[in-house]
């Protein structure tokens, strides 16, 4: 066992990278669920974002265009879900699952010709002077822009929900769509916008995996992160900062346990392997002992005639 082999600075830097896709997808889903819609299609939208972002950045050699394409692709796919649940009034759980299956299949088809190709590299935001600061430099100032975007997005979502009038309307729709409707708000429109936002975030999270974290295209490469994002939103009791905490905990313990294994620590591997799930759930459950609860209208279908 040689714990000195673990460099805490590099560890923290790489846990931030590992947490980012999860954070992006979960923050997007948080908005969707706060508007009263349960979209189980996160995994499908992520994988579509992963391939769309990959394909576009390979074709245009611009990672930035790829990331934008990923957001568009995720949002477009989520429109399918929006149509099914908001206009056709289909069951949200079934539609979400269908979206995931559809996304996984479609991405495999789209990705046929992109297996084994290297994407153009995303430049890190190398801030001169700042990134040279020992310890803080590698942790805070030498990442890719998307990682900072993820943190900024969490802050923005927090502000939106807490402080803005639009956020209040969104929450009203999620708590009681009938009351919001009676007040004259367009429930369907609010929900569609929320669903599209969730799709764009999930798409970006997927592209982060295929363009920055791995970086390559492989079928099924999101490997369940979308499902973890869904669980995270629940355990974070629909609060943005707790989602951030949960994502960093999960990503962090995951990276830490791999490092501990590599250093040959004498804890049985099985415990290390389950630790990210266990500790993240434990911490968030303890934190949610306060009066947080799900949006009251979560998963319920709305039609103006009812």
């Amino acid at each position: 066992m040689d714990l000195s082999a673990i460099n805490p600075v590099l560890l923290i830097a790489s846990l931030m990278v590992a947490a980012t896709p999860l954070l992006l997808a979960a923050v997007g889903e948080l908005i969707v669920e706060r508007s009263g819609v349960l979209n189980l299609g996160v995994e499908g939208m992520m994988i579509i974002g992963a391939i769309a972002g990959f394909a576009i950045s390979v074709e245009t050699t611009s990672p930035m265009l790829g990331l934008i394409a990923a957001m568009v692709a995720g949002a477009v796919l989520s429109l399918l879900f929006a149509f099914l649940t908001q206009f056709a009034l289909a069951n949200q759980v079934a539609s979400g699952l269908a979206l995931t299956l559809f996304g996984l299949g479609l991405s495999a088809l789209m990705g046929r010709s992109y297996v084994g190709i290297k994407p153009p590299a995303m430049a890190k935001l190398d801030l001169p002077i700042l990134s040279d600061i020992p310890v803080l430099g590698p942790i805070l100032f030498s990442h890719d822009p998307v990682l900072y975007f993820g943190i900024a997005l969490t802050a923005a979502v927090y502000w939106f929900l807490k402080k803005s009038r639009a956020g209040l309307i969104l929450r009203a729709v999620g708590e009681s769509h009938d009351a919001a409707h009676a007040l004259g708000y367009n429930v369907i429109r609010v929900r569609i916008l929320a669903i599209m936002f969730g799709g764009a975030c999930a798409g970006l999270g997927g592209a982060y995996i295929s363009l920055i974290r791995v970086p390559q295209w492989t079928e099924g490469m999101t490997a369940g992160i979308g499902w973890i994002a869904l669980a995270l939103v629940v355990f974070a009791s629909w609060k943005p900062w707790r989602v951030l905490l949960g994502a960093y905990l999960f990503g962090g313990i995951n990276v830490l346990q791999l490092n501990l294994q590599a250093a040959g620590i004498a804890i049985p591997v099985e415990y290390l392997a389950m630790s990210p799930y266990l500790i993240t759930i434990l911490v968030l459950v303890i934190m949610s002992a306060d009066k947080s609860r799900a949006p009251a209208a979560l998963g319920r279908t709305f039609h103006a005639s009812q």
Partner: protein
Amino acid sequence: MKLTKLFTSAAVALGLATTAMADTTKVGFVYVGPVGDGGWTYEHDKGRQAVEAAFGDKVETTFVESVPEGADAERVITQMALQGADLIFTTSFGYMDPTINVAKKFPNVKFEHATGYKQADNVSVYSARFYEGRAVQGHIAGQMTKTNKIGYIASFPIPEVIRGINSAYIHAKKVNPDVEFSIIWAYTWFDPAKEADAAKALIEQGADVILQHTDSTAPQAAAQAAGNVVTFGQASDMGEYAPFPRVSSIIDDWAPYYVARTQAVMDGTWESVSTWDGIGAGMVGIGEISDAVPADIKASAMEMVAALADGSYHAFTGPLNKQDGSAWLAEGETAPDFGDDGLAGMNFYLEGLTAQIPN
């Protein structure tokens, strides 16, 4: 995760039902990953395509990909048998018990299970001696490392994986007595993000050679990003990362076996057998050793490949001790395939490895 896979496989399995035809031999394949993984499943699917190419209209192949190991596999295999498959290849270790269970219910269907050890009247087992390839890897890796630290991304603690670790280790040790192995158990065959994280953790801790026993090319990409890290292709050539970081590879070639077994079913000569072929029979191939490897190392590696192929050298030749120091093989003795301390059920590390095998 489980749920999606369940639904996907159910959907695909249902799709299989619609194309039933008489007079053709139906061959089913159950895959653990997606056919586009670029590694393990990709090579099995190449074998399936070879069967189609060899027999044309006389054969009809079907496959279900990304089937989780365990109970779900049993359902998928049952479904295939119900739809009239004559021969079913189940291509991962974790399908062993499901395959045996389904085989009991369908005595007229032939089953072939890869990398397992449970045989039955209608269940053959087949595997490749990947450890021969690992020996060559260890030989090259031990000489390529400058930090004397080799990272190993392992999947599950099963004999096949443990054999690979042992084989790579003793051959690396032979050419470089200072070499150390850091082993990470990923507990997955296929999860690119996790494999990439594992590779990064190993690299950050100073490993400059990464060996992998997981199926995706993500560790190759991580090594490439790091710049000075050597890798080897796993299961497939992974030639898109040649000549560096990928300096060589272990290639599984299932095509001749799949064609021969399908032929046997057509001829009615199929019997339950246990096949375990290595470099000599062509089931294990060594991908081209790239120019990033110095010529003398390459030459000695090629010699080892030749010796393994003609049987003059066995990858596990004594004297070798187990990790606890007890004797395993005496001077000049080679490892038996089966039996208590045989290769097939290998569940111990060899002397020098410092890690513990997870139970």
